[in-house]
């Protein structure tokens, strides 16, 4: 199976070369960061988490999104998803791998990472996040691979693998819930301190993850003989639409609570994200996230509304663009706004704005490229099996 990743046309090799180059750039930047320290990034005392942790948070969602294929197929016997369930599982594998790489990139002392295992600390949410993410990686990798192998050999899959897959369904919910708990259990960070953070994370995850899946499926349809099928894509788009609606509804609830209660701490970050926030002493208007956040809200809501119209959904091209818009919108909202905004203002109500450094962006791109590299290899193997069976 995996040997299929070593064969491909020139387009395939061009794609893999681009990814390898980006991985190389990321690796080179990481060597610099490793030698200098995390001051290599744009992070500071006030904004102590940056691009790495925000990408991590977003990608946990993408990983959890895979369950939107696994659940209907395995629990409700929704046969249409049968051909593409593996795509969801393998996307989860790639996304969790990226998550783990981002965590490692963010550690000040990466050589001591195993201290988390050496001194297990059940009162730390990070400890639990480490556990749920690694188990989820294992469940999806083993579950997906064993099912695929059975399909290739045309034998029924072993029974135990079904158990793993059933466990992976609530586990997908758990990874994003625990990731939300990283934030929403911290006193004094008003923007994060909200019980709706976990549901909001899940809603955005179930929109963003399947959006990426749809895009992948459409790319595969265009460049390979593998077609996910109209019905499957359509059902996925329905899932995306409702998840996105839920997400924007939850955001709306946050806005209501903040602005109707008029509690300053609740309004500060939202002000900063959408309108800009004025400094206490200097009177300067800080607003470096306003444009991206407004853009995110606009394209996210517009694309969701557009997807409600059956006519719009008739064209694969339109579906692709709209899913791309939703993915981008949620990436800005969660992959930038949520984490970076949470640090503004700081606990002493000072405002420090964060701009990632070039090297930090290099490392981030490198990790994304590694993720897509893993994804491509896994998808290549999966599709080879699926196509061999069908011919």
């Amino acid at each position: 199976m995996i040997e299929k990743a070593l064969t491909g046309d020139s387009r395939y090799w061009t794609w893999m070369t681009i990814l390898l180059v980006l991985m190389g750039v990321g690796g080179a930047c990481y060597v610099q960061q490793f030698n200098y320290g995390l001051g290599y990034t744009g992070m500071s005392r006030d904004v102590s988490w940056g691009l790495y942790i925000s990408q991590f948070t977003f990608l946990v969602g993408v990983a959890a999104g895979g369950v939107m294929l696994v659940l209907p197929y395995y629990l409700h016997n929704y046969k249409v998803f049968g051909r593409i369930t593996i795509l969801g599982e393998f996307m989860a594998v790639a996304a969790v791998s990226m998550c783990l790489m981002f965590i490692l990139a963010d550690l000040g002392q990466p050589m001591r990472a195993l201290n988390v295992l050496l001194h297990p600390t059940p009162n730390s949410i990070l400890f639990w996040d480490m556990i749920v993410l690694n188990v989820y990686l294992f469940l999806n990798l083993v579950g997906g691979w064993v099912m695929l192998n059975a399909e290739k050999k045309q034998v029924p899959p072993p029974k135990w693998v079904k158990a793993l897959i059933y466990i992976s369904i609530p586990w997908a919910i758990s990874i994003h819930t625990v990731t939300a708990f990283l934030y929403c259990g911290l006193p004094g960070r008003h923007y994060w301190l909200t019980a709706i953070l976990a549901p909001r994370f899940l809603a955005s995850a179930f929109a963003a993850g399947p959006s990426l899946l749809v895009i992948c499926a459409l790319v595969l349809r265009r460049y390979t003989a593998f077609d996910a099928g109209k019905e499957a894509i359509n059902k996925l788009v329905t899932i995306i639409t409702y998840a996105a609606i839920l997400n924007f509804f939850f955001v709306g609830l946050e806005l209501f609570v903040a602005y109707y209660s008029q509690i300053p701490g609740h309004m500060h970050t939202i002000d900063y994200l959408f309108f800009g926030l004025q400094g206490h002493d200097d009177g300067i208007m800080y607003n470096n996230l306003v444009l991206p956040m407004r853009f995110s809200a606009f394209i996210g809501i517009a694309a969701t509304i557009a997807l409600l119209f059956p006519k719009v959904r008739e064209s694969y091209t339109r579906i692709g663009w709209l899913c791309g818009a939703i993915f981008l919108s949620l990436w800005i909202d969660k992959g930038l706004g949520l984490v970076l905004g949470g640090f503004v203002p700081n606990p002493l109500e000072y405002i420090t704005e964060y701009y990632p450094s070039a090297g930090e962006i290099g490392i981030t791109l490198g990790v994304w490229a590694t993720g897509f590299f893993i994804l491509t290899i896994l998808y290549k193997s999966a599709i080879a099996v699926k196509l061999a069976k069908e011919n």
């Binding site: 001051g39 730390s124 911290l186 006193p187 002493l348």
Partner: protein, 270 residues
């Protein structure tokens, strides 16, 4: 594959995993490190008024802001005493900044308090800010390695050898008391104190209430520097006869962000 051989491999694999994982988990349990935060402090009092009955020592400070307002030289003296004895680096920029104790304006130290129509002097009142050594510390809850933990005497400690630099504690601290070594601090330590280590890059640091000086029977450096004026009074909050307890009984004091339930051990006379 032969069935019994497969079975054997399965069992061998599981045993190996258990063999690797169990001793480390057991060791840390045996070392008695499981109680990362103090048990007696977990009962939250309504309105922050009713604390659990005091058990053992709990070191704390009373900081008299008026003394610092009266003598503008006092704050730099305290800060310098602390930073020089602990080899705290000075990077000269805000991005890399590391500080254990510093001055804030009233508005920033107590952002939930109003200044509206209040005394003009409040605007310029210098407030010494440092780690609050909370009785219910969010940073200790967040730390995934117990690199920061609560001592039985109430001090929130740092084990710089164990910190992995995840900065979860910095996100968790509602007082902005923690700093991170974004780069090698050694070249930025002006005058090295050979009796105390510096830190290396990639770890978090903060005020440790001079636990190393307390062990030698000395006062925390900041309290000693302001000894004559009584700007920072140090002592055991659980000892009714200590100087801090006496002052607390007599004077009206406030704590930073009491609504969060962290139960700071630092009190302010405004």
């Amino acid at each position: 594959m032969d069935n019994s051989r497969r079975k054997f491999l399965k069992i061998a694999g599981l045993t190996a995993i258990a063999g690797i994982a169990a001793p480390t988990a057991f060791n840390s349990l045996l070392k008695g490190e499981v109680h990362a935060s103090s048990g007696e402090a977990s009962t939250a009092g309504h309105g922050g008024g009713h604390e659990a009955a005091p058990v053992g020592k709990r070191y704390g400070f009373v900081i008299d802001a008026q003394k610092f307002a009266a003598d503008p030289g006092l704050a730099p003296k305290c800060i310098n005493a602390c930073h020089s004895v602990h080899n705290v680096p000075d990077f000269g920029n805000k991005k890399d900044e590391i500080k254990w104790i510093w001055t804030e304006t009233y508005a920033h130290a107590f952002p939930d308090e109003s200044q509206y129509k209040r005394n003009e002097a409040l605007h310029t009142l210098p407030i010494m800010t440092l780690c609050n050594h909370c009785d219910n510390p969010p940073c200790v809850r967040a730390c995934p390695t117990k690199a920061t933990f609560r001592n039985p005497d109430g001090i929130i400690m740092m084990d710089f050898h164990r910190c992995i630099g995840c900065r979860f504690c910095m996100a968790a601290c509602p007082y902005g008391a923690r700093s991170f070594n974004w780069r090698d601090p050694r070249p930025f330590v002006k005058q090295e104190n050979p009796e105390y280590p510096t830190r290396m890059r990639g770890v978090v640091e903060k005020c440790t209430m001079c636990y190393e000086r307390l062990a030698e029977g000395l006062m925390p450096a900041c309290a000693e520097a302001s000894k004559e004026s009584g700007g920072i009074i140090f002592g055991d909050l659980n000892d009714p006869a200590s100087e801090v307890s006496m002052v607390l009984k007599e004077k009206f004091t406030i704590q930073r962000k009491p609504a969060l339930g962290t139960k700071p051990s630092i009190f302010y006379i405004i």
